[in-house]
Symmetry: C2
Subunit: 341 residues, 2 copies
DNA sequence: TTGTAGGCGTTATCAG
DNA sequence: CTGATAACGCCTACAA
């Protein structure tokens, strides 16, 4: 009894007293050409035996799978897990199976993943994650994905604008611009920006958008502090800003929320009260932005939507469409209006 | 050029001028019996053609896959995404592919997923998520998984104690007990508990653990408020507590952190300052517990570790082992020591 | 060390 | 409508 192998179509056919071909047609056949009596016998046999079609066998017989492969940087990061949620939701609606691989922020790993992913012969490959640029893997990645597409696969990039594939991006530049304008309107003029190294495209775009609006308004050039793209990075940047002194800074823009939240904690630990002694704004509008005190001003990014859109693009006909999702400013207590000096 | 199909082993063999069998051996052969010159020619041909072995074909030829299937309630929930992170990390270390399905809190969906999952013939099925109990699907689920195991599959449950499979759980009862004792030691005696409906096992265990320690100490019976297992649930419960009046409550225990955080926000909105007017404690110790103000007292649960452990169990020989991960109390500012009355 | 041949579980083609 | 039979891409005795 132990280790009996799963029932095959063969077993079902025998149990139902029909040929294996008929059983196949009754269970997963495209054509409706099976006598209903036989069909129900087959179904009954399948149910009795607990038969489930071997997906790999189907894949190889049909020449195509029902798999979508998702590459993300880190599942535990709310940014990516929200995207993943959108992707799986859309995939399951389309009866597709999602396989997931984690790149851990390493472009080499990402490349390696995409390579082995092709072995799965997925219908779709979705690569999410503000890829680190500049490292030589970029061209290899493109090439690998291009070959995959030539072989009939669909590829969609999320938040990675300039590769020759369908892309869904977020309006990072515009969102940051609008944020800056909103802060200027609220009376802030002197800023610090906590940003990640320039290889991280998302950070660069947000930084650039913010700067362009500040400059356009003729406000002083913001203080730029480079740090990690993480909570710890924001925490550290805030500490450095406090040490340096921040008489010339009325508000801080951290290029993402987790950085902003880390910064708030660091400020508070240093006796600087966010929202009173210094304004703080982030980007992404993650769930906890409203639970932090003071509630964090941010730019809402429709992450789950990005995942859904990616699947929509993948399933559509267009071979290289691009969608840019809006990013909306949400002002909260961390940047209260500032009385004109 | 468009839509050329991916190269097969056949193509590689032809390109290298050897038989398909030799090519197979050179690329993925178990035995080392290929002349090195031929081997390198095959590898060169494979590289030139961009060949990747068709995993489905391998699966059907070898009779087994390198897939682990993960069923979780919600990817976007930090609780589950942390578990998923652990699972994928361990899986990738073992060269296994992770496929993910989302059950959305519905036992029916969970059952359906497990059923179709068997079609993948995964090596391992991991089901994570405090399953809702009482609904009739429980036995069907068990049966389905048992059949799968009979067919040679491995199954591991995460935080689902009483099914006849390998299980990794968290010491919810003990952790809640220790939390209660810590709060009692800090001078709190009158509590409210925000808990989810009893079908949610995790909530029930934590609630029970808390109660048992409170009772053992001879403190008054806590006020129990039933609500959703989510941030919104906690928010709502806090509002109801405030409306009802809370003269008889010195501290609130919410059975998870997101509930506790939602509750803190609701308290604050009602003019009740958490940590001063009322103590608040949660469970899980999610990342944002330290970024909230006041920092949240909680019970640390090693979620990622749970995922790692699940994979370890799956890959081990033992057929039905159980591991219970410790849960440690972390006291923070949301429950400051209370001067003896 | 190599090649030939058979098989893995399905689907698809093509006669009956 | 049904049943042989040939694929699908790969692995693995078995024989050379």
């Amino acid at each position: 009894m132990a280790h009996s192998s799963p029932p095959t179509l063969h077993d079902v056919a025998r149990e139902a007293g029909v040929s294996i071909a008929t059983a196949s047609r009754a269970l997963n056949g495209s054509a409706r050409n099976v006598r209903s009596e036989n069909a129900s016998r087959v179904r009954a046999a399948a149910a009795k035996l607990g038969y489930e079609p071997h997906l790999s066998a189907q894949a190889i017989a049909k020449g195509s799978t029902r798999t979508v492969a998702l590459v993300i940087r880190d599942v535990a990061d709310p940014y990516f897990s929200s995207i993943a949620a959108g992707v799986t939701q859309a995939a399951e609606a389309a009866q597709l199976i999602v396989t997931m691989a984690v790149a851990d922020g390493s472009p080499e790993r990402e490349l390696e993943i995409v390579r082995t992913l092709r072995g799965q012969r997925p219908r779709v490959i979705i690569v999410a994650g503000s890829r680190i640029e500049g490292t030589g893997t970029r061209d290899s990645l493109t090439e690998e994905l291009a070959e995959y597409r030539t072989a009939g696969g669909r590829v969609v990039m999320i938040s990675q604008r300039d590769l020759p594939f369908s892309t869904v991006t977020v309006d990072n530049h515009g969102g940051a611009e609008r944020l800056a304008r909103a802060l200027l309107d609220a009376g802030y003029r002197r800023f610090a920006v906590f940003h990640a190294p320039a290889e991280i495209r998302t950070s660069r775009d947000r930084h650039a958008g913010f700067l362009s609006a500040v400059r356009a308004a003729g406000a002083p050039e913001p203080v730029a502090i480079e740090t990690g793209f993480t909570r710890a990075g924001g925490h550290d940047a805030a500490r450095r800003l406090v040490e340096r002194g921040f008489d010339d800074v009325e508000a801080v823009f951290a290029v993402n929320d987790v950085m902003a939240i880390g910064a708030m904690t660091a400020f508070r630990d240093a006796g600087v009260v966010p929202g009173r002694d210094i304004g703080v704004a982030g980007f992404d509008d993650i769930g906890s932005a409203v639970d932090v005190v003071p509630a964090l001003t941010s730019v809402a990014v429709p992450l789950r939507e990005a995942g859904l859109t990616a699947m929509r693009l993948a399933l559509s006909d267009e071979d290289s469409a691009s969608v840019c999702l809006p990013a909306d400013v949400v002002l909260r207590e961390s940047t209260p209006p500032r009385p004109p000096a």
